[in-house]
């Protein structure tokens, strides 16, 4: 059967949906390039008359930030950007590395399938606020509060089910015979996994890494409760600006928001074919 063409009415619906989808993105991009005079205009200005990148400059200039009266949190975003990169990259690397080993172990040796859906789901169901509570207590006892080590440890633990099950679904796609053939050729089990399995799931490994990066880069609540002065991430910094100024720092906040979302959108487009797999713990393959 031939697939039908989109009818004009359906085109109209599609374009309406597209407008609704893209308008908020358009708005944040426009706000980020508004000069300060346009920020608080009422009614709001849609397209700035004189687009400018000054907001991005302000973001990294402590003096300029202070001028806007953000006294209590007179930080530039430099530390937050640094913190986000450090925590996300490190945690992603560790999560994928550990998840890769677990994935091979479970796919090849475990019969972890029996209770799989429920197990992975319940691991994700616990309200993060409740995990954060004991962390705050434990970390304050061993001096890990407000440290990147503590933050990274949580990020790794929280994203591990995702990396494990996403990678497991890629390993599952690979026929066992390939490794068994390598073992017959004299490789030990472990060597067979390292030199045969891993190179064959390169694509999946990349997609998983990017996906875990998205999760880590987006994380907000743990960073919020575990950071004071030493540690910061972009989402926390954004929340602090909004809190400190009742949100009136529009342009600068929007600039920071754009900085936060641009890498994710790029990475997201790169792995869009694997997003469903990641979000569903490998249950839906595309």
């Amino acid at each position: 059967m031939q697939t039908k063409k989109l009818s004009p009415l359906q085109w109209v619906l599609m374009l309406m949906a597209l407008t609704v989808t893209l308008f908020p993105v358009f708005w944040i991009l426009m706000t980020a390039i508004k000069p300060p005079t346009d920020w608080n205009a009422s009614p709001a200005i849609w397209v700035p008359s004189e687009p400018t990148f000054v907001n991005f400059k302000t973001l990294f200039d402590p003096e300029a930030i202070r001028e806007y009266g953000v006294g209590g949190v007179s930080q530039s975003a430099t530390k937050a950007v640094f913190g986000s990169v450090l925590a996300s990259v490190t945690a992603t690397f560790l999560s994928v590395l550990i998840g890769l080993f677990s994935a091979i172990g479970i796919s090849r040796y475990g019969d972890g399938n029996k209770a799989t859906p429920l197990i992975i789901l319940s691991g994700r169901m616990f309200p993060p606020a409740a995990i954060a509570v004991p962390f705050v207590i434990i970390f304050s006892n061993i001096g890990l509060t407000d440290s990147y080590v503590g933050l990274i440890a949580i990020y790794v633990a929280v994203t591990l089910p995702f990396s494990t099950w996403m990678l497991k679904s890629f390993v599952d796609d690979l026929p066992r015979e390939i490794e068994e053939a390598a073992m017959i050729d004299g490789l030990s089990r472990m060597r067979a996994h390292l030199t045969v399995t891993i190179p064959l799931i390169k694509g999946g490994l990349f997609a998983t890494t990017m996906f875990i990066f998205i999760l880590n880069w987006s994380e907000f609540m743990f960073a919020l409760v575990l950071s004071y002065t030493n540690v910061s991430t972009i989402p926390v910094q954004l929340a602090k600006y909004v809190t400190a100024t009742a949100g009136t720092l529009y342009g600068v906040q929007a600039a920071l928001a754009v900085l936060a979302m641009v890498p994710l959108v790029i990475v997201g487009y790169l792995i869009q074919g694997h997003l469903a797999r990641g979000m569903t713990f490998g249950a839906i393959k595309q």
Binding site: I28, P117, A129, V242
Partner: protein, 325 residues
């Protein structure tokens, strides 16, 4: 069921401690199967144990005490049994409302996201120009981090913001709504934000489901005389059931934990009229320092969501297990 779900709350430990089945063709040099399996899964288990299971146990213990950080060490705190739990369920209307509100938001979001996602996915089953570009464009919202989404919609819903501007264009000049000062409107804003953010996920999952529907049963139904509508609802949708349930379960889990967007949009206000469970627990623990009480609320939530999700998964459990194999 509850018992094994609780056991199961750490993903790795529960699944790998079972003895692996003997694979055929063993007896090669190097480490044996069991050793290799153990080495491979050890780091994951260790991390889960230290960073997820241990804190959970601490929180569980704490939920049976009246501890708060101002009162010395956790282990000196008084054991109060189920007092926190009964307090939450019987007396704490703010908690009960947070639960009901979270459920309301879940139902509204899930049904809207499903409807829009399905509609869009059906459109994408047709032929048209620029499909791949539009596909990416429609996925954009789910790639944006929740905090930023919350912030964007906070701007959009300002009283002088574009949402009101557009509504004034359509409905006349006097509809300046104060979205964040009126409880129903604030909840609506939260729902709109969530729906915008996560409809792409439904779209993505349903589209991949539609694409994997085998062609012949559909053709068979057409030949047997079914109209396109009948084919869609009687043949295609039942085949999508497992996919739809997976999508619902995964989104339900996320909405139960809904925090970031609400934090940016309303902080739970006005009053506590947009407080979700997660936001309430956060406030209990980090604003009021009622840590033990907050932990009890968290465990109640966990148990509730496990039951809920167990029920949602029941109709497709067998199929999911088959697919997992």
């Amino acid at each position: 069921m509850l018992k094994d779900s609780l056991n199961a709350s750490s993903p790795e430990t529960a699944s790998v401690t079972q003895t692996p089945p003997k694979a055929p063709g063993t007896g090669r040099p190097g480490a044996g199967e069991k050793t290799v399996a153990r080495i491979l899964t050890m780091p994951g288990q260790l991390v889960s144990l230290l960073v997820l299971v241990a804190p959970l146990l601490v929180a569980l213990y704490m939920s049976f005490t009246d501890w708060s950080p101002t009162r010395g060490s956790l282990f000196e705190a008084e054991f109060v049994g189920f007092e926190n739990y009964s307090e939450l369920l019987i007396w704490d209307t703010r908690f009960v409302y947070a639960v009901l509100r979270t459920l309301l938001i879940s139902i509204a979001c899930l049904s809207l996201e499903f409807t829009f996602g399905l509609g869009l996915a059906v459109l994408f089953m047709r032929r048209f120009r620029g499909k791949s570009v539009l596909f990416s464009a429609f996925l954009t919202p789910m790639m944006i981090l929740p905090v930023v989404v919350g912030y964007i919609f906070w701007m959009l819903f300002q009283s002088s913001g574009p949402v009101n501007q557009i509504m004034e264009c359509i409905l006349g000049p006097d509809v300046a709504l104060e979205w964040f000062k009126n409880a129903p409107l604030a909840v609506t804003a939260v729902i709109v934000t969530e729906v915008w953010h996560w409809t792409p996920l439904f779209f993505l999952i349903l589209l991949s489901g539609l694409n994997s529907v085998p062609e012949n049963p559909v053709r068979a139904a057409v030949i047997l005389g079914a109209s396109p509508r009948q084919v869609f609802w009687r043949v295609i949708m039942p085949m999508l059931k497992p996919v739809i349930i997976v999508a619902f379960v995964i989104r339900a889990m996320e909405i139960i934990k809904l925090f970031d967007e609400v934090f940016m949009l309303t902080r739970g206000g006005p009053g506590s009229s947009t407080e979700t469970i997660s936001l309430y627990i956060y406030k209990l623990a980090f604003n009021d320092f009622q840590l033990a009480y907050g932990a009890a609320a968290a465990f109640l939530t966990l148990i509730g969501s496990l039951v809920l999700i167990h029920l949602m998964l029941a109709p497709v459990r067998n199929q999911l297990l088959e697919a997992g194999r």
